[in-house]
């Protein structure tokens, strides 16, 4: 019963969502909306559960007091609770909330994202090797596209953007579509296995 009930619920909800996507029916779409609302509520509770886990782990680190861990963990808990209280009491449009959002959160996130540029340079240096013909084709295509996407490429050779566009529109598109179709059908198959309870490792334990 511990296994069968979640699988039955998953099946009913899954079928309801699929049918409501394809068919126009007021009762169906109402039912689907209710289920979506439940999903949001479950997510909110899951966030609560996850926050408890976060506090547990970091409280342990503070108690252990090893190195600077206590300081990092302490700042995490203080800022998490502080921002949550500020949002609840003053609201997210309040200028203090917006200040911390703009001054700390936005630049922090943007900085981590911007680090991709540095990581790609290091990964390219280390891994982009001409080992065989395939890798050589890949390297030449990458070089053309990188140059075609910036003004300097056009300065070097006026036809470079056109070559870049061809690479994107023909070989890239062919590959993309193939992978997209394969992944799409794979996704349907995976969904079907979950709905039918054939793949149930997400409930814990082995699949079958």
């Amino acid at each position: 019963m511990k296994r069968e009930l979640p699988i039955a619920v998953a099946f009913v909800v899954g079928v309801l969502m699929i049918v409501s996507f394809f068919f126009t029916s007021k009762p169906l779409s109402n039912a689907a909306e209710i289920v979506q609302d439940w999903g949001v509520i479950v997510s909110a509770f899951a966030l609560g559960l996850a926050s408890v886990n976060l506090i547990q782990i970091h409280a342990k680190k503070i108690a252990r007091g090893k190195g600077l861990d206590w300081l990092y963990s302490g700042s995490l808990i203080v800022s998490m609770i502080g921002m949550a209280l500020l949002g609840i009491i003053k609201g997210p449009t309040h200028k203090t909330y917006q200040f911390w959002f703009d001054a700390l959160f936005v630049p922090g996130q943007a900085t981590v994202y911007a680090m991709t540029g540095f990581f790609i340079a290091s990964a390219a240096y280390r891994a982009f090797r001409v080992r065989n013909v395939d890798a050589a084709i890949l390297l030449v295509s990458a070089a053309i596209l990188m140059l075609a996407n910036v003004p300097i490429g056009e300065r070097l050779w006026s036809q470079l953007p056109a070559v870049g566009d061809w690479l994107m529109d023909v070989p890239n598109l062919a590959g993309q579509r193939g992978m997209l179709i394969g992944a799409g059908i794979g996704g349907i198959a995976s969904g079907l296995r979950v709905l039918l309870g054939i793949e149930r490792s997400y409930l814990g334990g082995s699949s079958s």
Binding site: A50, T116, A123, I188, S190, L192
Partner: protein, 259 residues
């Protein structure tokens, strides 16, 4: 109850695809032997965990940073399915497994998957709940926290299977920097090149979805992989017919698809 405008063709195509999958699963259940090609990334899982055992360092696993309520949900489920297999092996070899999670709703599933895997291996006492960690629901806060975990705990094997976005390359690069053997997999096409460049093995697109079947060797699941190939053949046929009819000046098929 009628089919919504613009979704008629998609509906019937879905029916055909599901038909192919069910038929192949039924054939497999009847006992038709099914073999699928080797997937190097999945075969290397034991090697990676063995390496962790030898080096006395933990294994890190991330079931993607996608949730279970959107289009990337199958990737998350695939990530959890592979995680179940990995957790059983870490339990068997007595290697600690650190699981990091971004989506709150995935967290209880990850916890249960690992706990159950340890119980099934008879190592319930070795299960460490604080090793299943929710880091942050914010993408880059999660990434930054994981950089820290990688740098401090230096996993010898790093598994990242599921949906990833811009953090994919950074995480794999940090993994490579700490010397982890990395097995990654995603169906997020924009991230595949990054994983390929910085991991030891990468599951590309549908390989990720085939992983649970591949690892479990369950006939029904293997049957569904065969069904996928059948469905792909039908879609390929549709493409060929589409190209031929469109080239001949007919827009019948494209109109039909828009219905």
């Amino acid at each position: 109850m009628t089919l919504a405008k613009g979704r008629v063709f998609s509906f019937w195509l879905l029916v055909v695809i599901i038909g192919c999958l069910l038929y192949s699963m039924w054939r497999a259940k009847k006992g038709r032997p099914i073999s699928i090609r080797k997937i190097a990334g999945l075969d290397a899982i034991e090697e990676a965990i063995g390496r962790s055992t030898e080096m006395g360092r933990p294994v890190h696993y991330c079931p993607g940073i996608g949730g279970i309520g959107a289009v990337e949900a199958p990737q998350t489920f695939a990530g959890l399915a592979i995680m179940s297999h990995v957790a059983r092996l870490t339990a068997k070899f007595d290697v600690p497994i650190i699981v990091t999670v971004r989506q709150p709703e995935v967290f209880p599933m990850a916890e249960e998957t690992v706990r159950q895997a340890y119980l099934e291996e008879g190592k319930g006492d070795a299960y460490e709940p604080t090793n299943i960690r929710f880091l942050s629901s914010q993408q880059f806060a999660y990434a930054a926290a994981l950089f820290g975990i990688m740098a401090r705990e230096k996993p010898a094997a790093n598994f990242m299977m599921g949906a990833f976005w811009a953090e994919a390359l950074m995480l794999a690069e940090v993994g490579s920097e700490v010397g982890a053997l990395q097995i990654t997999g995603t169906a997020q096409l924009s991230q595949v090149p990054f994983f390929v460049a910085s991991s030891d093995y990468t599951l590309i697109g549908e390989e990720l979805f085939a992983a649970a079947a591949y690892l479990s060797r369950d006939q029904m699941q293997l049957g569904s992989i065969l069904g996928q190939d059948l469905a792909k053949a039908i879609v390929a046929l549709l493409i060929i017919i589409g190209v031929l009819t469109t080239s001949a000046g007919s827009d019948y098929l494209s109109k039909l698809m828009r219905k």
